[in-house]
Symmetry: C2
Subunit: 422 residues, 2 copies
């Protein structure tokens, strides 16, 4: 590889030259460079993704583009996000290496990460649409969230270590701004880029823009997103950022990573599982054909939260080493009991936060700019609108009445009740 | 001034050479350098402070020392804190220039700030001990806190601007650690450097170390201190960081500045006013002689909070321009009413936070390493201990029952009741 002094967008034809001389690549692809073949496969919003095949194997090159792909070059985006993605992947690998892709190389100038080609993994969201069951998934998602959130927090780290990371990730401002605008602001006003299933949802969208109580509650969430540095969060942890086989789970694409509220990651997962649930009506070959799968999705949401919360509590009980809730202050039996009660209180607050963020993430996917394939692929707009209305009903309730749920079972029960009442 | 390449501690004799050539200094002190006379007057814990006089006038040089003066060179401290102090003073001056000393020059290598000599100002704490009334004080403190907290928060700033400052102040880790240890941890364990009025408070100190409920509540505060970036706070806003004349107030020494919870600054002030209140018994020439002054101190606490909260709300209502609670979402009459209610809710939460932090700040001054002159100067240990027990009683209640107060009047009433019951 020549030393690249300036960024340029890679193409299928320039990839082999880019990879030349990168450590490990010859071992991974094979020595015969003439056999290296790249194919651009990116379907995300922000990046070019190349699968590169050689005689010996395959790998992926992910390169950040200088604009938001979904909107075009009118929406420029900083290339540095690739650096934050690389840093976040490295941090995550330290805690759950089996749940993230291997990183082989990072080129900062080119904003390109050379990483493991995941095969035969598929994007989880597509699996949900096809109705595929993943037995390992709840546990893997729970493990990923518990490990990465706990071990980057003040509950586990010395303050100086945490602040040094906070300082680095502070600079990922522009990606945070996308979330600030698209999740917490635009769905609640007449923003140029909003769209929704029309005319079916016209009135609902207008009602959401007038829903003062909801808007206040969402702004409260936005303030938490802006001013809470609980943990290094993935920042975009939806079912499009998870790749799966029936036995393996890999979490990808943490370019939105920054120090933010834990509930934003947990809520992103729960919210997207609920969107998958409500969208099943649009994917069943005949009414009721997906009933069993629907129930599996709800069990997945329950399994994820229950697995997450028990793992998080166990990690904390075993490692009370962070600067917050210093373990040395709680050594007698009574003190240990009290601090354990406080940990449950913390997780209970996190549950409420997560439900609120879940609601906000669901709404933005229906009334905002970026939608999800679970719903978008439903061609019959009457059915799609019905799925969306169900989602919006629960989402609003999650934001406004989070404390009324108390347990993940009450969330799944509410989803079921909304689905069955239609 | 020669270019100083390496830090060395300034002395009375090296100050004139250090100041040579610094812009403005000749105008301030006069051209005849032989007349420049420096005198070290520092009585704080962390720094050397020189008053420099010349024919034309005076100025102050404040230099950071590489260790904690109170403990000695066994406790090293980073010189960079001087840079954070300089940055914080500059930020504060942008909002309330009349309430901070003028800065003439900053030398990063020497960790030295050349600033306005405040005369005939005295340290507010000493004024409290002498029983002096400051008619302007409540309003000035309220203005300082409201302006600096609001205008550095997400309620006023674009996220990118706030995060750029957050990024800079993240590095002030070591000074934050002093607070984390000395305020939130050490008073609740047998720390080597703790001290208290002994033997009078021996049992009380032991009770505080065993007070599980209190320890959990204080650790909750510590987590907020570690992970909440609400505003650029002064970080050490007690009555020793305020200089006063009857007509003028200047807030000094923001070297602990960082992005933290607003309630920490507001609570530091309230807590130190309450310490001043309870310590009056040790300073009156005969019982009852300070009754009127006591009441003035309580009125000061009320005036500060009421002035702060009304100013903060007014600033917010007038400038709903930050990225949190985006003004554009709340433009109809009903929406404006709802957002105004939410602002009151925010301030009410801030009040509770402030009371809790006030309690924590009071306790650390009685059971921890660094004490306050209000109490330390009471030579009769029986009387001092009684003042301290009163303070501790209210402090504990502020932390554990903050929501029960509801209004600053109930705090001052509780202080009065504790004082009168002894």
């Amino acid at each position: 590889m020549e030393i690249l002094e300036r960024y340029f967008p890679l193409s299928n034809s320039s990839i082999p030259e880019f990879l030349e001389g990168v450590p490990e690549v010859e071992i991974l692809l094979g020595c015969d460079r003439s056999q290296w073949v790249a194919r651009e496969v990116g379907d995300g919003n922000l990046n070019a993704v190349f699968i590169v095949r050689g005689e010996a194997g395959s790998l992926v090159v992910k390169q950040a583009l200088p604009y938001l792909r979904l909107v075009g070059d009118s929406w420029p985006l900083p290339l540095e996000r690739s650096y934050f993605e690389y840093l976040a992947l490295t941090e995550q690998a330290a805690h759950v290496s089996h749940l993230v892709p291997k990183i082989y190389h990072f080129n900062k100038t080119m904003a390109a990460i050379v990483m493991e080609y995941l095969s035969p993994h598929v994007i989880l969201r597509k699996g949900f649409i096809r109705g595929i069951v993943y037995p390992q998934l709840a546990e893997d998602l729970a493990e990923f969230a518990a490990q990465t959130l706990f071990k980057t927090s003040d509950l586990y780290l010395p303050a100086a270590t945490k602040k040094a990371r906070l300082q680095i990730f502070c600079a990922n401002t522009e990606l945070c701004r996308i979330t600030e605008d698209l999740v917490f602001t635009d769905p609640y006003r007449l923003a140029k880029l909003n769209r929704w299933t029309s005319p079916e949802l016209d009135e609902t969208a207008a009602n959401f823009r007038r829903d003062t109580e909801l808007k206040v509650a969402v702004q409260r969430l936005k303030l938490k997103f802006l001013s809470s540095t609980e943990a290094l969060i993935h920042g975009d942890l939806h079912s499009g950022s998870v790749m799966v086989t029936p036995g393996e789970t890999k979490i990808i694409d943490p370019e939105f990573a920054f120090y933010g509220p834990m509930g934003f990651d947990v809520g992103a997962l729960i919210g997207n599982l609920l969107l998958a649930y409500f969208s099943q009506t649009g994917h069943e070959s005949a009414p009721g054909m997906r009933d069993e799968y629907r129930e599996w999705l709800l069990a997945l949401a329950e399994g994820f939260w229950n697995g997450f919360s028990s793992r998080f509590l166990a990690l904390w009980a075993k490692n009370p080493v962070g600067d917050a809730f210093t373990g040395i202050l709680f050594e007698s039996t009574a003190e240990r009991r009290a601090i354990e009660a406080e940990r449950h209180r913390f997780v209970s607050n996190l549950f409420e936060d997560s439900l609120r963020f879940a609601g906000a993430k669901m709404i933005r996917r229906i009334l905002g700019l970026a939608h999800v394939e679970d719903l978008e692929s439903i061609e019959n707009t009457r059915i799609r609108a019905a799925c969306e209305l169900n989602s919006l009903e629960l989402a609003r309730k999650l934001i406004l009445d989070a404390p009324s749920f108390g347990h993940i079972r009450h969330v799944t029960a509410a989803a079921r009740a909304i689905h069955e009442n239609r």
